[in-house]
């Protein structure tokens, strides 16, 4: 008798967008099969058709308000690629300054506000002792962030007030007391304290994005050929503001974010060693962000099956898109086959369609992309900037590189990345200052739109906070004829295909043991570790399907 039980989780909260997960567990609560599904279709690519290519940025930016800027930049770069427009160095740096601040903002919000409650039991923190908490924090940092007894007492009092008033707000109805929570009351209190501090942090760092982006979400300073915020670039006060915000951010990253990750890595050591949440070990990174001359911040490469000793070159001609089990036909038309009567996904037959997310493959394989892939590949390619950060983390937590390929490792990779990005930004700013000093104040490459080719193609590959972002454009008669996006979440949350291969989300869920099937905290934890972004993920297949390979590579 097959006693499999199906658990449906929808809505999956603390992510961008509408994600559903269905897992089948056996009698012991061990996940045997998993289906993740995007539940919203908007059709931004269809909307982009027949528009002026120069408008693609403002429209495509709206693909996502969380990965705000990523799609904006992806689309603008893609159109520039189609017209072979090289943007001035300053414009590239300004774009990087916005992107990098977004990386940090995104990682911190993701960990504390979208993910940490999978590790942190808010109600347990009430029982913490302020003095012991302060001691606990010292184990992971020499100078822990806001570590006074008085501060912790204040946090407890604040929490108690929520509880007393019966107003838990966003904390209400969590899985409090779940057996999967492993932290002591004091450890919980450290994290909660930082949860609240991080709310401040993210409003603050958003100012850095706004200085050169005009605002966030949805910055508005990128145009085909460069950037518009030249007056801000030339204003020393603005540069100083930017630098100062980043320095403050670095304090938080060094003294709260990284130590917290070490704390969690220590407390959840067994889980890490068991490889909980590990996917199939196929990693992809397209690299990017100029560092010194030819050296890049991230190194590109492909890893199969955790074989980190053999890193292959990234080859864009190996990318393909399939829709066997997504709600599209081969030609890109929509073919919605609905849900079952009870609202569950149709997954009984191996050709049942169940998601709005299409199925991208690299070399016919499902790939994991994101901070973990970046850190692993860059480390193995001996990236000097990154490696010292990785080494320190592994040393302090007594882990090996391979251990990072798991739920908590993905988070660790994000924290490590935030650490070295803070350093990198300082280098970017000094390069910008050098340029300005030598009277290079160009921020836009001039072109005459009327004289640009009427028919052309472009694509861009960008590392963004959640992983590899690919934009493709076909231009005919100076209008967008076809547009296609493969976002990081499209890669990671891909549905199955006729090949039966599970994507990273689905694969990572297999083998997870769920203690209480009515409270599937374990499932949420795995999914959240990928930082899902569903608005980004759902895109129509490129109607030219296999022709993707005809684009030429232009690494950033």
């Amino acid at each position: 008798m097959n006693k499999k039980k199906k658990i449906v989780i929808d809505p999956i909260t603390r992510i961008e967008g509408h994600l559903r997960a269905e897992v089948e567990v056996d009698e012991d609560g061990v996940v045997k099969e998993a289906y993740v599904s995007g539940q919203l279709f908007r059709g931004i690519e269809t909307i982009l058709k027949n528009r002026d290519p120069r408008d693609a940025g403002l429209m495509a930016g709206r693909i996502c308000g969380v990965c705000t800027n990523s799609h904006f930049r992806g689309a603008i770069t893609c159109v520039e690629d189609a017209y072979s427009i090289e943007v001035p160095k300053n414009a590239e740096i300004i774009r990087d300054l916005v992107s990098m601040a977004l990386f940090i903002q995104d990682h911190v919000v993701h960990f504390y506000h979208l993910h940490s409650l999978d590790f942190v039991d808010v109600t347990s923190a009430l029982a913490a002792d302020a003095k012991l908490t302060s001691k606990e924090a010292h184990k992971y940092s020499d100078r822990p962030f806001r570590n006074s007894h008085a501060h912790y007492k204040q946090v407890i009092a604040k929490l108690q007030n929520f509880v007393k008033a019966g107003k838990l707000g966003p904390f209400s109805n969590g899985y409090w007391g779940h057996s999967d929570y492993k932290l002591t009351p004091e450890q919980n209190l450290v994290l909660i304290s930082h949860y609240l501090e991080a709310l401040k942090f993210q409003t603050n760092i958003s100012k850095a994005i706004a200085i050169f982006g005009g605002k966030t979400p949805h910055p508005q300073t990128l145009v085909v050929g460069g950037v518009t915020s030249v007056a801000d670039m030339l204003n020393p006060a603005r540069l100083n503001d930017y630098l100062f915000i980043i320095k403050e951010a670095k304090e938080f990253v060094d003294r709260a974010y990284l130590p917290d990750m070490k704390l969690i890595a220590t407390a959840y050591r067994d889980e890490i060693k068991a490889g909980l949440g590990r996917a199939n070990g196929n990693f992809m990174c397209v690299g990017g962000y100029e560092f010194e001359g030819e050296r890049k911040l991230f190194c590109s490469g492909i890893v199969y099956n955790h074989d980190l000793e053999n890193i292959h070159e990234f080859d864009e001609s190996k990318i393909s898109e399939e829709v066997d089990r997504a709600w599209y036909k081969e030609d890109g038309e929509i073919e919605y086959t609905d849900l079952n009567e009870d609202g569950s996904l149709k997954t009984a037959k191996n050709d049942d369609k169940y998601s709005w997310i299409k199925a991208p493959r690299y070399d016919g394989k499902t790939m994991e992309t994101g901070p973990l892939a970046r850190v692993l590949i860059s480390y193995k390619k001996e990236n000097k900037l990154i490696n010292s950060f990785v080494d320190e983390f592994l040393k302090d937590t007594e882990l090996e590189l391979m251990d990072l390929s798991c739920t908590i490792g993905r988070n660790a990779a994000r924290a490590i990345e935030s650490g070295y990005i803070c350093e990198y930004i300082l280098k970017l700013v000094s390069r910008l200052i050098q340029n300005i000093k030598y009277y290079d104040t160009d921020t836009w490459t001039k072109y005459d739109f009327e004289k640009l080719p009427k028919q052309t193609k472009g694509r861009s590959f960008l590392e963004v906070p959640r992983g590899v972002l690919c934009h493709f454009v076909n231009i005919k008669e100076a209008k967008i004829d076809n547009y296609s996006v493969i976002a990081p979440t499209t890669w990671n949350a891909t549905p199955k295909n006729f090949d039966g291969l599970r994507g990273a989300y689905e694969e990572a869920l297999i083998g997870i043991k769920i203690a209480d099937t009515s409270k599937p905290l374990e499932v949420l934890k795995v999914l959240h570790s990928f930082d899902p972004c569903l608005a980004c993920a759902v895109h129509i297949i490129d109607t030219n399907g296999n022709e993707l390979s005809s684009y030429k590579i232009k690494t950033l």
Partner: protein
Amino acid sequence: MRVVIVGGGIAATYLANNIKKQNSALEVTIVSDEKYPPYDRIHLCRLVDDKKDIGSIALPLDPTVKLELNQKIIKIDKENKRVFSDNSMYSYDKLIIATGSRPISLFDVETIKNAAVFRSADDCEIIKSEMKDRDVVIVGGGPIGLELLETINQIDDVSNIILILRAKHLYDKNLSSDSIKLIQECYTKNGKIKISYEDEIVDKVIKNNEIIFLKTKKLDIQNPFLVFGTGIEPNIEHFRDTLRCNKGILTNLYMQTDDENIYAVGECAEIEELNFVAGHVKDCTQEANCAISHLLQSDMQEFKREVSIDMLKVGEFDLVDVRSPKFSANFEKVVIASKKDNRIDEYFLEDTKLVRFIGINSNVDIGYIENLINDEDEVDINYLYQNRLVGERGRLICSCEHVYHKDLVDIVTETGIGSFSELANYSQAGRVCGRCKSMVEDVIKESQHLIDPNMPKKSAQDIKLEQEIEKVQKRIDKFNTLHPRNNLSADNLESAMESLNIAKKEVNSWVSMVTANMKLHPNFEDLVEKGVKTLNKVPIIWLELADCSGNSEAFIKSTNPAIEDLIFDYISLDYHELLMSASGDQSETVLEDIITNQKGEYVLIVEGAVPLAMDGKYLRIGPKGETGIELLRKCAKDAALVLAVGSCAFDGGVVAAAPNPTGAVGVAEALGRDDIINISGCPTNPTNIVGTLLSYIMFEELPALDKYNRPLWAYEGRIHDNCERRGHYELGEFVKEWGDEGAKKGYCLFEMGCKGPYAHVNCPTMKFNSSTSWPVQAGHGCMGCTELGFFDKFANERKYVEEQNNE
């Protein structure tokens, strides 16, 4: 120490407030089986005649007192010091039972449609809705029956009222026949009321849970509505097993029961030594004081019976009844009557000592009478006769505080106060049992003309402002009672702030900012402050439909107040998928709970467009796979207010841009409603969301809106008119291409396709991300993201006019 008080009336509230007053560190919980926060039963009649609503008769309760409603305590576990309701358990260190009394009816009226007792707000609802077009039969002629009789007499829909009395007198058997006649005449004058003495119900016919026929000794009544205004008995059925009881729960003089950790106070308690069950507010508060003194072991006082004062003001007559605890049937009576004034004073004497006084339309000095009874001095009948004239302080208005008419007039003329709330600074009259509140209000109103005209006068504008402020104050009070969990009172902000952990400084800076942003007179600052503190009692559901989460992201980046204060202290963001810890079924439960249990109280904020094509199946949410439109309809149905934030919720935004592949529309269109407030923008400025919420709480009506239902205070100004680059426009200084000299100098961006001249919103003044920048400052120009259909019209870097010419 945890003190649990069982009961939801005056006694419970008085106990809780006074325990807190004496020791604010104690944890005090009120557990009540009513669904409303404690209210004043004395004013129940005002609910029947619709002159008041449940909110306006609510009793002020210290906000740090925890309130558990809908919990009927059915069991006490003395050993482990716990009490149980059907579904909850509360641990206590000290338990106080203050469950009051319940009405006695001849038979169970619960299942009968047209019969009721008169004890709770729910009873009033039944009376109000069922009595219309029926003959109303009131049983009982005591104080309760008479007050009810008077109330129903005032209601136009009722044409026949029959008062059934078992005895042959009204009010009290010791009342003289002249007095009874006088009262009776007042009632029967207009012919609506019929009084049937020495009568009682002997038979009834019930069909379909409805009494269709009623037979009394003397009358046959068809289609009646029956109300029992008879007696009451202690409400202690669930405590009989565990505590020693007689008529009520037996206590000592400190109101302590046979269990040292349990006290009983009020109408449910019986003081064994005195064989006494309280019947007046004053008895109850005195008992409460004794219990508190013993419980806190400070300044202990034993209960001592005192003179009681009852006042009954019904229509044309006022009745005052002052009674000594020693009053018995062995009295002699002196009646001083004046036909002319319809006035009767009845003095009850025992051994030449005054033991009781009943006055009808009397104006004797009640305070003096009270002293006379208390002191047990011999009385001189002649003096009583002289005393018939009005005392120099006028009529007694508030018997709890011994405040007379003249005292109030003096306060008004000396201080120039104009309202009941202002009186609080000078006197507690009308605030103890609340019975005389309306009389106090009348005195204040009537004596306004006595205020010295040389006091600084108010201008018409001041008066208008005052009226507006009063209106807002009412709104805030209403919201304060909406959320019973922390019932903040406007008089008690310090305590309120403590309970919400709000630092004064933060509030101040934000209040000033919001007041200024909403373009309100600085006099409103106070109210904005109170409104801010009320915000957190309005549950908020934030739905994300076909969106990009951009508005949520913007919202969590709000400053002034900082987001951490906003979501934890100020507003009650109960359902927000991006932030909430609960997922799947757990989050669904949160949502269901709000929309079923807080109907008409929650605010719905919607982000994202509503796809309608393919039956709305382009978006499915929740375990049952509801479509976006289904979920939206469900949540919007009982929302007090729906806000559509961002461009997609406004008109479909980017999702509805040509060719609109998913048939997306904005929220207002999807629901077919014209009362949705739109806060457009891509994304919208979070300050405008918070400001709109606040403006809704402060002014009952929606804020002034433009033709697209956007709040005028945020969307009235045109970007171009308030633009920082406007000077360059006037001088003809334009950016001609990106990054040119003009761009470096901050020239006007009109030539680069800035849509500022076509967009209306407060971006130039508010900016984004803590006022760091906005698209014009950042050199790009505006793309009109607040305007209808802007993606197809404005979202590009070309001049709008040119575009039109091309078409």
